[in-house]
């Protein structure tokens, strides 16, 4: 059963059609990759799904409900949460407090929220950094914190916007493992990613966006052989192994 349904969604900025008639679904527990060149409209699509932007046309449904008119916090409370491509830790809050913000909406007491926070920090490997301030973290830790905060909201759908960008291969490898274990808990994931190694390793299905339009959809194996995708994004000679 599809948990998230995007139906013919379009969004223009002035004369620029950022997203045009995007249609796809995300099933319960699925891991879906979203790739495409810079400026293809991937992040705009995330904004549209998570309520930060309103579609000009089309509809986004979550668990059967039309999300039109809902604000981002409403959508988060319903179980769909996003991370930001440019990490946005709360700079003057500690790492634990950062995660608490996400954990509090679900529980009545701070103590329960703290328990969730500690659990999530342990899962994401930030347990020892709980007392550090948000602004003092390294990029890799900021990416982990984005993920940790999102997980603390107890989502059913996780929208990850380039969580691998800027990480070294070791860090990327670790984060791939982490996302896999999150997925194993039954959370559906929509993943925007440029790091092909990660997309290929994680996605069960991949969508390709180019100039605001979905140009291909399929399993990782078929996507890397699709001529349109090679022309628009991957380039000649991509074997699907390096990256």
């Amino acid at each position: 059963m599809s948990l998230l349904t995007v139906e013919r969604v379009s969004k223009s900025f002035g004369g620029l059609k950022a997203v045009s008639g995007a249609t796809f679904t995300l099933a319960e527990g699925e891991m879906l990759g979203l790739i495409g060149p810079n400026g293809a409209g991937k992040t705009t699509l995330f904004h549209l799904i998570s309520g930060f932007l309103r579609p000009d046309e089309g509809r986004v449904r979550y668990a059967g409900e039309d999300l039109a008119g809902l604000r981002p916090h409403d959508i988060c409370q319903r179980g769909m949460v996003r991370t930001f491509q440019v990490t946005r830790p709360f700079p003057r809050l500690s790492v634990t407090e950062n995660v608490l913000v996400g954990a509090m909406e679900r529980v009545a007491h701070r103590r329960e929220a703290l328990a969730i926070a500690e659990e999530v920090l342990a899962l994401t490997g930030l347990a020892e950094k709980g007392g550090h301030m948000g602004h003092s973290l390294t990029l890799a830790d900021r990416k982990r914190l984005e993920l940790a905060r999102a997980l603390a909201t107890r989502p059913k759908v996780l929208l990850l916007d380039e969580v691998m960008a800027g990480l070294n291969p070791t860090e990327t490898g670790r984060l791939i493992e982490l996302i896999r274990s999150v997925h194993a808990c039954g959370i559906a994931i929509l993943l925007i990613e440029h790091v092909m190694k990660a997309v290929m390793a994680l996605s069960q299905r991949i969508l390709v966006l180019n100039y605001g339009e979905l140009i291909a959809e399929g399993s990782p194996e078929t996507i890397v052989r699709n001529p349109k995708v090679i022309e628009a994004y991957l380039g000649e000679g991509y074997s699907g192994l390096e990256g």
Binding site: H73, C76, Q77, F90, L93, V101, E105
Partner: protein, 320 residues
């Protein structure tokens, strides 16, 4: 923990005994300090915790002052009750301004301008409402009666202002410990990230604004019955809003002790520059006050209290 309890008890004892030791000049200084610390604490909820800069708190202050005064003068209602009416009215105004500002997504300078403009409208209305005394101002007859919030001598005012400050600090402490406190700080740091994590930023900003405005209005009532004279061009000016705000900023916004410390420092600074620089060139003390203020803000941009905390942590070897 024991050290804390003992030192808290010590501070409490000193505060109780203090007004009986010092001269009336110092009594007045302490009352003003507590009273401004109280206002800065109220401002701190919106400006410090929620990070929404208001330069219009004089409006809420004046609503509190005028409401309790007019209710007492014309209908004989005790300011002890009237101040609650003022607080409710101030809260309603804050919700109106907040709705306009937050619903339409005004942030930063634009929100500041909205608060300035709404306070200015209030000043113009007050200047032209006969019941508020207009330009002449509103005089309150002094008839000592604690039930009417009118006290003989300074010592009762000392304890009332201390009580106000303690109550406001308790409110902020409770906020800080609650979900609301965490949310407000998150909103201050990054509104969009807060929204993404399920925080209803509009609602919590409205709550912060309403609580801040209501507390500020209580402070207005205190002022009315300490000064016995209200005039829009003194109480309802941007200068006054700045006076409130600057104490929280100098002391350290988003902390409980910051506004209190800031109020003490600025009161002492004002007194110091009056004592040492007055008498020579006219206005020199005000200039020196300004210079000292700039120095503080320049070297301790986060405020004095956070700087002290950082210093103590470094000294005791704990990480910041």
């Amino acid at each position: 923990m024991i050290v804390r309890t003992v030192s808290a008890a010590g501070v409490f004892a000193v505060l109780l005994a203090l007004p009986y030791w010092v001269s009336s000049v110092w009594q007045n200084l302490l009352i003003t300090t507590f009273y401004y610390a109280y206002l800065a604490q109220a401002w701190n909820i919106l400006g410090g915790y929620a990070g929404q800069l208001s330069l219009g708190h004089a409006a809420f202050f004046s609503i509190g002052a005028y409401t309790s005064a007019v209710l007492a003068i014309h209908w004989g209602i005790s300011p002890w009750l009237g101040m609650f009416v003022g607080a409710v009215l101030a809260m309603l105004l804050s919700l109106g301004i907040g709705y306009l500002g937050f619903r339409f997504g005004l942030r930063g300078f634009y929100f500041v301008l909205l608060t300035v403009a709404s306070a200015e409208i209030c000043r113009l209305i007050a200047l032209h409402l006969p019941i508020l005394g207009g330009y002449t101002g509103l005089f309150i007859n002094f008839t000592p009666n604690p039930l009417q919030f009118q006290f003989q001598g300074k010592i009762p005012y000392y304890f009332v202002s201390l009580g106000f400050l303690s109550a406001a600090s308790l409110v902020v402490w409770l906020i800080q410990r609650s979900k609301l406190g965490v949310y407000l700080l998150a909103i201050r740091d990054d509104e969009d990230a807060s929204e993404a994590l399920g925080v209803d930023t509009f609602r919590y900003k409205m709550v912060a604004y309403a609580v801040s405005a209501a507390l500020t209005a209580f402070g207005g009532t205190f002022y009315a019955y300490y000064q016995f004279y209200l005039q829009p061009n003194t109480v309802l000016t941007m200068n006054h809003s700045v006076d409130i705000m600057i104490r929280a900023i100098v002391g350290g916004t988003g902390t409980i002790l910051g506004p209190i410390l800031g109020s003490f420092l600025l009161e002492l600074l004002g007194e110091f520059s009056r004592t040492f620089f007055a008498g020579g060139v006219a206005g020199l003390n005000v200039v020196m006050y300004g210079v000292l203020l700039i120095v503080v803000v320049l070297f301790l941009p986060r405020g004095v209290y956070p700087a002290i905390v950082a210093l103590v942590r470094r000294a005791t070897g704990r990480r910041a």
